[in-house]
């Protein structure tokens, strides 16, 4: 168990996928509303302890809801006679709830998960080793190449470049893209030569094996079980006949 223990990545990813699939499957507004309310309540509860989460969730919600506003404008209103389209409004409402549920659930459940952890978790859930290894390696190379990109951008700015809409900006962006690809090609050649010089001839994917399912602590499993119970109850909600 690490110093600050985070539940097993596979269970967190599985829980996120369960919420996403349940939200995509459900067409009942009652179920979707129930799921959204629970996700929002949990977010508020967690955000009260973790202020960083407020900014993170806020930014993500703002981004997805900007797209959803387009959905509402184009589907919920018949612009020819300026009236509400009931079918369109229902579809827009379902989409809005689904997108917000998934965004809140993914932010909460995958909080502080790195790309390497995501690769391991995905392999643990059945993704091919090659893809998991690629994901983990990409995280490393992004960190290295983003330094190169920053250096190139600094060099461009030092030559009095200011981004604006015009041909010069497009030309400079194209140069930046070409330079990044050339840097990657040169670096990959160096890497390949270095590996060969050390006699490296690996036939195994460099991916760490996950902890056995049985060895996981009960507290980790409780997250998955709780998510499954909540989702199950929410999906069952429309079938309940409430006596008047």
């Amino acid at each position: 168990m690490s110093h600050v223990h985070h539940p097993d990545g596979r269970l967190r990813l599985a829980a996120t996928l369960i919420v996403s699939i349940a939200a995509a499957l459900s067409t009942s507004l009652a179920s979707l509303l129930a799921m959204f309310s629970i996700a929002l309540l949990v977010t508020i509860f967690v955000a009260a302890k973790d202020r960083m989460l407020i900014t993170n969730v806020g930014r993500r919600l703002l981004r997805v809801n900007a797209f959803l506003s387009l959905v509402w404008i184009t589907t919920a209103i018949t612009w020819r006679d300026t009236a509400i389209d009931t079918i369109g409004a229902l579809l827009a409402m379902q989409m809005t709830l689904r997108v917000n549920i998934v965004t809140l659930a993914a932010t909460l459940l995958l909080m502080r998960m790195s790309g390497v952890d995501l690769g391991r978790a995905a392999v643990g859930l059945g993704l091919p080793n090659a893809l998991g290894a690629l994901l983990a390696q990409v995280v490393r190379q992004v960190a290295l190449l983003s330094e190169t990109k920053t250096r190139l951008e600094r060099a461009i700015r030092a030559r009095a470049y200011r981004p604006a809409f015009g041909f010069r900006s497009l030309h400079v962006s194209a140069q930046l893209v070409a330079w990044l690809i050339i840097h990657a090609l040169a670096r990959s050649e160096r890497l390949s030569l270095g590996l060969r010089a050390r006699g490296m001839n690996s036939f195994r994917w460099p991916i760490r094996t996950s902890t056995a399912w049985r060895a996981l602590p009960k507290s980790d499993w409780s997250i998955l079980v709780a998510v499954m119970l909540i989702v199950g109850l929410c999906l069952f909600l429309p079938r309940l006949e409430i006596p008047s």
Binding site: T16, S20, I21, A24, R60, R63, L68, V71, T74, T75, D85, L91, M95, L97, R98, V99, I101, V102, T103, A106, M113, G115, L118, P128, A130, L131, A133, L134, L135, Q137, V138, V139, R140, Q141, V142, L145, S146, K149, P163, A164, F165, L170, S173, A174, Q175, V177, A178, L180, I181, I182, A184, L185, R187, S188, S192, M200, N201, S202, R204, W205
Partner: protein
């Protein structure tokens, strides 16, 4: 270009995930533990390209360049785009995990198409400047138009005529992105072709 999670229905998500799985399987055949760092480097480059923004008025658009990805990587574009989108979903909530198959398909299929059609034209360097610019512009056109068409088909299969307005709006919003991508890809292919002609030939692919 991302379709947010929760927008598409289950049959569309399943069908697109199945198509993506086929593409990834073909792409992964080119990948071995020895060539992994090289492939990861390219995936990192294309992840970073997505963070380059071009200002337009008060807003900005980010580069997609999936045509260029297809030109350089061929079928390997499928696993590379999949991985880049998975990271974007995790770090920025762009797209999502259940819509990962759909988003990979709409970006990678036009990329691979552009690569299959246009790479033979660059096989024998040195190519002329006019040819490099034309290939770059065509690759971007195939990449963006293909992605827009696939996204439109996915949205239509989910909502039918109800989403026609949204489809029109999404397609219209891609026009400036397409124009910018055409210019940037054409110039980038021209620069790459002159500075590193092997970027589009089988020599790069041999490493991958």
């Amino acid at each position: 270009m991302h379709i947010a999670e929760g927008v598409l229905d289950i049959p569309t998500l399943v069908a697109s995930a199945a198509c993506t799985a086929v593409g990834i399987t073909i792409g992964l055949r080119q990948l071995t533990p020895g060539t992994l760092p090289t492939a990861a480097l390219f995936a990192a480059v294309f992840f970073l390209i997505g963070t380059i923004h071009i200002p337009i008025g008060v807003g900005s658009v980010h580069l997609i360049l999936n045509g260029l990805i297809g030109l350089v990587l061929g079928w390997l574009a499928f696993p590379v785009i999949f991985v880049a989108l998975a990271l974007q979903a995790l770090l920025f909530s762009f797209g999502g995990f259940t819509s990962l198959g759909a988003n990979t398909l709409l970006m990678a299929l036009p990329a691979v198409t552009a690569g299959l059609i246009l790479r033979p034209l660059l096989r024998r360097p040195p190519s002329s400047k006019r040819r490099l610019l034309a290939v770059g512009a065509l690759a971007a056109t195939i990449g963006i138009l293909g992605a827009t068409l696939i996204a439109a088909a996915m949205l239509w299969s989910t909502g039918g005529d109800t989403l026609l307005g949204l489809i029109t709006l999404v397609a219209a919003a891609q026009t400036p992105v397409w124009l910018i991508d055409v210019i940037v890809t054409a110039l980038a292919v021209n620069m790459l072709g002159r500075a590193r002609a092997t970027a589009f030939t089988s020599e790069t692919q041999r490493d991958l």
